[in-house]
């Protein structure tokens, strides 16, 4: 499986670390809504199809990535930086096309 890192380009999955489900929303740290915390910690969509995931390119540029992976085919349909501020860095794909 290849993941196309927005900075490094296509790399083998062995360079990446799965950081968990990308659909979860962390409750406010001060929240005492135990149902929300329970959902955050335990509830998963577990879809048979496209799934939002967080990965880290731990064996490369070490950035965190927001990845959409198909759980049936492992097809990766989208990869983006998980955090803003790296916008100007994602230029390799544009360079490759020129």
């Amino acid at each position: 499986m290849l993941i196309t890192c927005p900075y490094c380009g296509p790399r083998d999955v062995i360079e990446f670390t799965y950081q968990g489900d990308g659909n979860r929303e962390r409750p406010d740290p001060a929240s005492q809504n135990f149902e929300a915390w329970n959902a955050y910690v335990y509830d998963r969509l577990n879809p048979a199809g496209d799934h939002n995931e967080i990965w880290q390119h731990s064996g490369g540029c070490r950035t965190h990535l927001r990845v959409v992976r198909n759980t049936l085919t492992h097809e990766i349909s989208s990869v983006a930086f998980a955090h803003g501020g790296h916008g100007s860095a994602a230029r390799r794909k544009a360079e490759d096309k020129s």
Partner: protein, 195 residues
């Protein structure tokens, strides 16, 4: 100044090795830069850091991910968004950067004692490195001066292409001897010379 010892020393055997009857196709050396510095910009401060690199090292970084250049004495390349590795033959680069890269712009980390720089050159350099790393070493995909960060068996490596047939590899100092031995073994079948 205290003389720095090489971690490769017990396995560093100058001369030709392996299958070199038909010629040596790989040259392995340790470049031993005096300074290796890692610079990181806070989000939005990248341009100021690139300007600081130009001021201190005199190197104008090309735009784009993984871009870099080398003038034979100093080298710089990007290895992650807003992060750069700079190497210099002489010591004192970290102190020079610390005066220019303020805490508002980003951080300076002196890795001079933390990394070992190994140079692999020769017509089969791409071929040998392709046995180690699952990245494209062809010249159009990996131009001269550019840098890449990747791993070999969980040993993190930063690679800069410093010539058409030449690459500088920065590895953790504590893993450098093991990596060097592996590189020598991988070069045996085409004949290599340690200089």
């Amino acid at each position: 100044m205290v003389e720095r010892q090489s971690p490769l020393e017990p396995e560093f055997h100058v001369g030709s090795h392996g299958n070199f009857e038909h010629g040596v196709e790989i040259i392995l050396t340790e470049t031993r830069p005096g300074s290796i510095v890692q610079l990181a910009a806070w989000p939005g401060e990248e341009k100021k850091l690139i300007a600081a690199i130009r001021t201190v090292a005199g190197l104008a970084l090309p735009d784009g991910a993984g871009g870099g250049l080398s003038d034979g004495v100093k080298s710089v390349f990007g290895f992650a968004p807003g992060k750069f590795t700079v190497a210099d033959e002489v010591e004192g680069l970290a102190a020079a950067f610390a005066k220019v890269v303020t805490p508002i712009i980003g951080t300076v980390t002196d890795l001079s004692h933390g990394r070992t720089a190994i140079r692999i050159a020769g017509p089969k350099a791409e071929w040998v490195l392709a046995k180690f790393f699952a990245i494209d070493f062809a010249l159009p995909a990996f131009p001269i001066g550019a840098g890449r960060s990747t791993t070999h068996h969980d040993v993190f490596a930063q690679i800069q292409r410093t010539g058409a047939d030449q690459f500088d590899i920065y590895v953790f100092r504590s893993f450098a001897r093991s990596f060097w031995k592996a590189l020598c073994h991988a070069s045996e079948e085409v004949g290599y010379e340690v200089q």
